[in-house]
C-alpha cells in the first residue's frame, strides 16, 4: 500500500474503505461547524494580556500549597454566616432570595410540566430531561437542579476569562449572588437524594461564595479582591467544576 503525504486521502483509503464510505464518515462523524474565530480570540487575548504586561498566571496555575489555610477565610464568608438568621436568609439579602426562589419555582414548574405522567421509564440516551422517582422529591426538582447547573456555566466561564485578563466585571457580584441563593435552595431541597448532584452543588456553592466575597470586596480593596477571585478560579479548576457541570447538565438546558 502506498501513502501520500501531499494532501488529502491516499489511494489506499479508497482501496480499503471506499470513497463513498469515507465521505459518509467525513460528513457524519462530528462534522465541524464554522470556526468561532472572534469568540475564541477574545478568550485567548484575555489570557495573553497578563503575559504581555509582564505578569503571569502563576497564581492560578500553580498548585495550592495549603488549601485549607488559604481557603478557610474565604469560605467562612458563606459558611459561618447564620444561614437562617437575622435580616438575611441563607446569608443573603432577602431580595436576592426572592429572585432566586422565583427562578427556582419556575424551573420546578417547567420540570413538572415536561416530566412524563404515569410510571417512569428509562430514557434511551442522555441529553433529554429524565424524571426522578416521585418519592425522591419530584422530577421538577431534579430538572430544576440540572437547569440551574447549566445556568451557572456562563458565569463560571466569564469569571475564569476575567481572572486570566485581570479584569473584574462589576456585574459578576449580583449575578453570582442570585445563583448562590438558588444553589443553596436546591441543596436544602435535596434534589432527588443524588449524592453526585449534591456534591456538585456543594462544590459549586463554595466557589460561588468565593466569587461573591471577592466581588463584595472589589470596591474597597481591589488587590485583595483580585487575589480572592484568583482563589475562586483555582477552586473552580481544582474541582474541575466546569467539566462536571457540563457533564451533568448540557448547556442546552440553560434556557438562555
Amino acid at each position: 500500500m502506498t501513502h501520500h503525504d501531499d494532501g488529502r486521502l491516499g489511494p489506499e483509503a479508497r482501496d480499503d474503505l471506499g470513497p463513498e464510505w469515507l465521505e459518509a464518515v467525513r460528513q457524519g462523524y462530528h462534522p465541524p461547524p464554522a470556526t468561532p474565530r472572534e469568540t475564541m480570540w477574545e478568550a485567548i487575548e484575555g489570557g495573553l494580556r497578563p503575559e504581555l504586561e509582564g505578569t503571569t498566571h502563576e497564581l492560578i496555575a500553580e498548585p495550592l500549597v495549603d488549601g485549607a489555610v488559604v481557603d478557610a477565610p474565604v469560605v467562612a464568608i458563606g459558611r459561618s454566616r447564620a444561614r437562617y438568621g437575622g435580616g438575611e436568609v441563607l446569608g443573603l439579602p432577602r431580595r436576592w432570595l426572592l429572585a432566586a426562589a422565583a427562578v427556582l419555582v419556575l424551573g420546578i414548574g417547567i420540570g413538572r410540566w415536561t416530566a412524563p405522567d404515569g410510571p417512569l421509564t428509562p430514557q434511551p440516551t442522555g441529553g433529554a430531561p429524565v424524571a426522578e422517582r416521585p418519592e425522591d422529591g419530584g422530577s421538577g426538582l431534579a430538572f430544576a437542579a440540572r437547569r440551574h447547573l447549566a445556568r451557572t456555566e456562563p458565569l463560571l466561564t466569564t469569571v475564569r476569562a476575567d481572572a486570566r485578563s485581570g479584569r473584574m466585571d462589576p456585574s459578576i457580584g449580583p449575578w453570582a449572588t442570585t445563583l448562590l441563593a438558588e444553589t443553596r435552595l436546591l441543596m436544602d431541597a435535596r434534589t432527588g437524594e443524588r449524592d453526585d448532584v449534591q456534591r456538585l452543588l456543594t462544590d459549586l456553592e463554595l466557589v460561588l461564595v468565593q466569587i461573591v466575597g471577592a466581588s463584595q470586596r472589589g470596591s474597597q480593596d481591589v488587590g485583595r479582591a483580585r487575589e480572592e477571585m484568583d482563589l475562586a478560579v483555582r477552586s473552580l479548576e481544582r474541582e474541575e467544576l466546569l467539566d462536571r457541570i457540563r457533564t451533568a447538565a448540557p448547556s442546552t438546558m440553560s434556557g438562555a
Binding site: 464518515v25 457524519g28 462523524y29 462530528h30 475564541m40 428509562p122 440516551t125 429524565v130 456538585l200 462536571r244
Partner: protein, 181 residues
C-alpha cells in the same frame, strides 16, 4: 512573511504577529479539535488552550518543524488529556440518567441504530492512538509526515496505526459498510 517570522515577532511580545499566527492556523486546529471532541464547547476550550500554551512556550519553538506542526502537537496533547478528563467525569458522575436505568418498569424497545450512529459508535470505540490518526488522515487530510511530527512518532507508526484503525472499523461496521463499498 512566513509563520516562522511571525513566531519570532510574537516571541518578542508582538501580539499582532501572534494574531496572524492564530488566523493562519485556527481553522485547522478548531476542525481537528471538533472532530476529536464532538462538542463545540470542548473544541473551543481545547483550541484556546492550545494557542495559549503555544504562546507561553514560544521560547521553546526552535523552528525545526513548521509552526503549524508544532502547534498541532500541542493541540493534540491538550485534546487527548482534556478528553480523558471529560471521560473520567462522565464515568464518575453518571448523571441523572443512570437513575432512570435502575428504575422498575418496561424497557422501551430500542430502535436499530442507523448507519450514522453505527459509524459514530465504531469511530468512538477506536483506541485514542488509532482514532487520532484516522481522524487526522482520513477525515482532515493530514499527511503521515505531519501526523508523525504532531504525535511524536515515526511515520511508519502513523501508517501502521491508520491501517489498524481502518481494519478495526471494517470489523465493527461489517454489513453497514456494504451499503457504501
Amino acid at each position: 512573511m512566513t509563520q516562522l517570522q511571525w513566531a519570532e515577532e510574537a516571541r518578542n511580545g508582538d501580539e499582532r504577529a501572534f494574531r496572524r499566527l492564530y488566523d493562519a492556523n485556527v481553522d485547522g486546529i478548531f476542525r481537528l479539535m471538533y472532530r476529536m471532541a464532538g462538542e463545540e464547547h470542548l473544541a473551543k476550550d481545547f483550541t484556546q488552550e492550545a494557542f495559549l500554551r503555544a504562546y507561553q512556550k514560544l521560547d521553546q519553538f526552535r523552528g525545526d518543524a513548521a509552526f503549524s506542526t508544532w502547534l498541532h502537537s500541542i493541540a493534540v496533547s491538550v485534546a487527548l488529556n482534556g478528553l480523558r478528563k471529560a471521560d473520567r467525569h462522565r464515568k464518575r458522575e453518571h448523571t441523572f440518567d443512570d437513575v432512570a436505568d435502575t428504575l422498575p418498569g418496561p424497557t422501551p424497545p430500542r430502535s436499530e441504530p442507523g448507519v450514522r450512529e453505527r459509524i459514530e459508535e465504531a469511530v468512538d470505540g477506536l483506541p485514542d492512538i488509532y482514532r487520532t490518526v484516522f481522524l487526522m488522515h482520513d477525515l482532515e487530510g493530514y499527511g503521515h509526515g505531519e501526523i508523525a511530527e504532531a504525535l511524536g512518532v515515526a511515520e511508519g507508526t502513523s501508517k501502521a496505526r491508520l491501517s489498524r484503525a481502518r481494519a478495526k472499523l471494517r470489523e465493527s461496521l461489517g454489513d453497514a459498510m456494504q451499503e457504501y463499498v
